[in-house]
Subunit: 312 residues, 2 copies
Amino acid sequence: MAEFALIQQYFAGLSAPGGDVLLGVGDDCALLQPPPGRQLAMTMDTLIAGRHFLADVDPVSLGHKSLAVNLSDLAAMGAEPAWALLSISLPKIDHHWLQGFVRGFKTLAERFGVRLVGGDTCQGALSITVQLTGLVEADRAMLRSSAKPGDLVYVTGTLGDAALALQLLRAGKDPGELRERLEKPQPRITEGRALAAAGVRSCIDLSDGLVADLGHICQRSGCAARIHVERLPVSSRVRSHVQESGDLASVVAGGDDYELCFTLPASMQSLWESLPFETTCIGEIVPGKGVELLQEDGSSLPLPPAWEHFSS
Amino acid sequence: MAEFALIQQYFAGLSAPGGDVLLGVGDDCALLQPPPGRQLAMTMDTLIAGRHFLADVDPVSLGHKSLAVNLSDLAAMGAEPAWALLSISLPKIDHHWLQGFVRGFKTLAERFGVRLVGGDTCQGALSITVQLTGLVEADRAMLRSSAKPGDLVYVTGTLGDAALALQLLRAGKDPGELRERLEKPQPRITEGRALAAAGVRSCIDLSDGLVADLGHICQRSGCAARIHVERLPVSSRVRSHVQESGDLASVVAGGDDYELCFTLPASMQSLWESLPFETTCIGEIVPGKGVELLQEDGSSLPLPPAWEHFSS
């Protein structure tokens, strides 16, 4: 199997030079012109068959998701997407599969202005690595380390949809409209840009579940978080599931939602009412360590085990 | 297996913030400050066990090589190395293996001022992906597309050492000092920086062998190259092999040497004498298509089959 040339044909248009891409795919390196006054936000994620996705997953969804998880990291920093590199390892060339993969990747890339500037293709066990660079105004990036006691904690969207979809799929049931939430997560780029522009300083994306990811903010910021479980925003499907089963694990610890969790100091608490997208205040930052889940009667819920994505 | 935190301990020092690294490993993204007036050169390569290296290769060599092949791409552009992201997929955690891998990677990274700013670790078939970004002065990057008829063609170092080492290893023989050339190639960063600063405009690194890689320059520049095989620089070990076997394939088509091949217009042909490292003039760029191998008597050698790295 040759170099990236093999699938470059599929990506025509997405990898053309122009704007800040001085040179795209086809030389030893891509050559890029960073705009003055911006900082670079860089992330890279590998998705492995059987670990992060099922080997027979729809390739369109996989193309989407492999870019989406990286876009979500940029969203959490408040960065604007710019340039991607893509490495695909495939057991054999399958043009139908590749066309689907590219369609999923390309549709999402075009939506967020991502240019594909390099990468390679190898023969091997199915896995996908995407490296993504975004641009963010100086001193505007949202960090895990900037939360402070007194801040309120917010999330975008609803929680637990992806985890419930996975649970249903594993039980051989049809997850219906929840399947999209698992297989085609929507990175919150627009929301992240708006939050950073409004002065939000602390944010993370929910890939490993609320307790684990908010725990990263607490750990890096040297503080604790108290979450009021009755305030957690859920879809009607997840609400029914919780009412029937009494099991909150998918909501408080389910991964793969790719919503944003951010904190706001008291002085900015009128901001969330003016945001042009749905956010929910779910708790507060307090002195101490770790994440506490509080029920309406004031008692603590035990923390559920960590989210394990697709691992068996 | 957890996130990159797992091996972050091994990389302590290499991933600390400072200088243009505003934020290294540990948040959703790394945050970097590109220096004014510089362009970014970006490359990414995946190495897969059984394909690009033997699964039982010394991990120190693999750590070295996984960074070296990317550094070599920067060298070919004339860029100065800056930031790396590293994704490691491993069948199981093996601390001895990881320590070795990190030692090889870190030693080379420190030598060339590479900061490790992110990545991840997954469970899966052994493979390594490195994404590397370098910095290059505006309009100084050396491109594959800038060669012109009348240019002379040069290479650094010697050719065919890595290919002969692989051939000996496969035959169960000891390659001696050639093993280092295969397993620990030295990226020509210093040479690439000097060539770009001197005004060289066309360059490539020899990863797939002279004929294939010079062929890329010809294809992208719309011209042909004539190579005089008796001028090709070889080590004494390769010279003996060629004399005994009559087989020039390792020299003209052997990959993994990671030397630089560049072209110089007539107006700059005094340059190569002043360079503080060894280069050899091996031929010239002419009108036409493809690469021609000329023997001393003026007859053409047939082109050998393409280099296939470790594939079986």
